[in-house]
């Protein structure tokens, strides 16, 4: 699953349209749009709002290690070496308030420019804010909140901030312009998403959901202790390192119900022999 967090509807709109997401009709504090593989939440502006919406979405959809979370939105650039409308993949995100920095793992190839994002608690306008105090290349009001929240759920190679340069720290930006520049970058962002998905698809996993279910069932039916269950999982992985699939005889044990722990132990020893 790919989770997308945006601050404003103007940022979300082109993503909703591009990926054909539908509004999720559920009574919740946040607007959520979802398709088969993508779920998007509109957080509203600010670090806390972004962190809350991220936690909400990732909890609601039971985020797992192989999922991806992206914060997509606009940001103001400090220097004109970054072009308006250009998408920036952030390799460092600084929370201006605490100076704490976060680092996503950039493990896939991509065609975006990279830069440092600095997240502020207020809109940064160059007339009012001395830019020498800004460490990042671009400024926003959500990235750090999103990143810290998403990092509670996902590994750092699966959490990214992608910001499209909308201005040079001037005042308001037109919503239609925001939608336009985000929309234009979606093919690039989609390529990035698909590379991350490929990695997750091909990286060999531990046990499949079906195999995990077999463990749960055996543990319950045979009254296995926590340690024995853990050993069983390990033995199944050991067996699968040498064989394509689990031995057929293992499935026979699914129909057995042990009447006591000692009886379960006898069956467990037989399973051990089978898998070693």
């Amino acid at each position: 699953m790919i989770f997308v967090v945006t601050a404003y509807h103007a940022e979300a709109k082109p993503i909703i349209e591009y990926f054909g997401l539908k509004k999720v009709l559920k009574n919740s504090r946040f607007e959520v749009f979802a398709g088969r593989e993508i779920a998007l939440v509109e957080s509203g502006p600010g670090v806390i709002a972004s962190a809350c919406a991220t936690s909400f979405l990732l909890t609601e959809y039971k985020a797992r290690d192989k999922d991806i979370a992206l914060n997509i939105g606009i940001a103001g650039a400090k220097n004109s070496n970054l072009r308006k409308g250009e998408a920036i993949l952030c390799h460092k995100i600084i929370y201006n308030d605490t100076k704490r920095a976060f680092y996503p793992d950039i493990i896939v190839k991509h065609d975006m420019k990279e830069g440092v994002l600095e997240t502020f608690n207020f809109p940064v306008v160059k007339e009012d804010f001395p830019l020498e105090l800004m460490e990042g290349d671009i400024a926003d009001m959500e990235g750090a909140g999103f990143f810290e929240a998403a990092s509670f759920f996902l590994p750092p190679h699966g959490v990214h901030c992608i910001k499209v340069v909308s201005d040079y720290l001037e005042r308001a930006v037109e919503p239609s312009f925001v939608s336009d520049i985000i929309g234009k970058n979606l093919p690039l962002i989609e390529g990035f998403m698909s590379s991350l998905e490929t990695i997750h698809r091909f990286i060999p996993k531990g046990l499949s959901e079906n195999e995990e279910e077999i463990i749960d069932k055996l543990a319950e039916n045979l009254r296995l202790t926590f340690t024995m269950t853990h050993q069983l999982k390990n033995l199944m992985l050991f067996y699968l390192s040498k064989n394509e699939s689990l031995p057929g005889e293992l499935y026979d044990f699914l129909n057995i119900k042990a009447n006591s722990k000692s009886e379960g132990k006898v069956y467990f020893e037989r399973i051990k022999k089978l898998l070693c």
Partner: protein, 336 residues
């Protein structure tokens, strides 16, 4: 799988540089070798290296480099799971963390939260601590346990720096453990009598199956032969000895091939150690690992260390020892 390979950014696509070491000569030397890398400034190496929920197995395919300074605990007492080779004051140090090879059995996967490579550039601080220590007692110091320094020599010439530091220091004996075929990176140096180049050797079957990215046996042997020919002290480490189908034939072949290339009488000593790993490291390795004959083998736990059961352990050790002693005097073979 080709599709997968094309997705990964190249290793060292990003180099994280800790505040305060930007101007260190070694930092500059390393950065010069990666002109296209994205440089990211960080406060402390642990901000990147110790992030929660990193996936070692994913990161291995696109390792990043972290350049930093180590500020405390520069030397450690040699652990019980390692050979002291009869030396009394056994220490080790880690001028770098992690390795460019991806051996399935490697404890680093369980010891570190990240597959990224850290190079500490404050070499002088390490040297100062050692100088202070050898003023009190002679020490035996291994500098390439948590990394493979010789494999990194073209990136950061740490072996050269350490060898030159150790040269003529009578109270310092240095061991550089490696699997690399990178001897040429230090071959211009005169051999130092208190430095031991220690090569880990494994059967071809093991190298092909479990030592991803590491040089094949032939290349390692060629490098060892050159090093011995140049007058270096060379140690052969048959460690870890692994238990697998047809292991006996594999180790027979390994040892006969080794001594068909290397003059046995010129070998300083050799070590044998069956696979062993601290319990907590293995637990961590098992958490993220795909099914693996090594990682998921049902080991026996003894004093918080996982290893083969006593019978297998004895069989492995005795077999390799009996093969080795045909070439090397028994008193030069160290068993753990």
């Amino acid at each position: 799988m080709k599709e997968l390979k094309n997705c990964f950014a190249r290793s060292f696509s990003h180099i994280y540089v800790e505040e305060g070491v930007e101007e260190a000569p070694l930092t500059k030397e390393i950065l010069k070798k990666f002109p296209k890398a994205v440089k990211v400034r960080i406060k402390h190496y642990k901000d990147v290296f110790c992030r929660p929920r990193q996936n070692f197995f994913v990161q291995e395919s696109s390792r990043k480099l972290i350049i930093a300074a180590k500020n405390w605990e520069l030397l450690y007492r040699g652990p019980d799971v390692c050979h002291s080779f009869g030396n009394e004051n056994f220490y080790y140090t880690s001028p770098a963390l992690n390795c460019v090879y991806s051996c399935d059995y490697c404890y680093l996967k369980g010891m570190y939260p990240s597959a990224n490579l850290v190079i500490f550039v404050n070499v002088e601080d390490f040297f100062k601590e050692i100088e202070d220590l050898i003023r009190q007692k002679p020490i035996y110091l291994s500098i390439s346990y948590d990394t493979d320094l010789l494999a990194l020599e073209r990136i950061a010439p740490l072996c050269t720096t350490w060898i030159e530091f150790a040269r003529w220091k009578e109270d310092l004996k240095l061991e550089i453990r490696t699997k690399s075929a990178n001897y040429s990176a230090i071959s211009s140096l005169a051999p130092a009598c208190n430095v031991i180049l220690a090569w880990t050797l494994s059967p071809d079957e093991v190298i092909k199956k479990y030592e991803k990215n590491a040089p094949p046996l032939d290349l390692r042997l060629k490098n060892i032969k050159r090093a011995i020919g140049d007058g270096w002290n060379v140690r052969l480490c048959f460690d870890p000895v692994l238990y697998f189908e047809k292991w006996e034939a594999a180790y027979e072949n390994l040892i006969s091939r080794t001594f068909s290339v290397i003059p046995a009488d010129k070998v300083k000593d050799a070590s044998i150690g069956v696979f062993r790993i601290p319990r907590d490291y293995l637990k961590r390795m098992r958490r993220n690992s795909p099914p693996s004959e090594i990682i998921h083998y049902p080991y026996t736990e003894r004093e918080e260390v996982y290893t083969y059961d006593e019978k297998i352990k004895r069989e492995l050790t005795e077999k390799v020892w009996s093969l080795l002693k045909k070439h090397i005097p028994e008193d030069k073979i160290f068993i753990l």
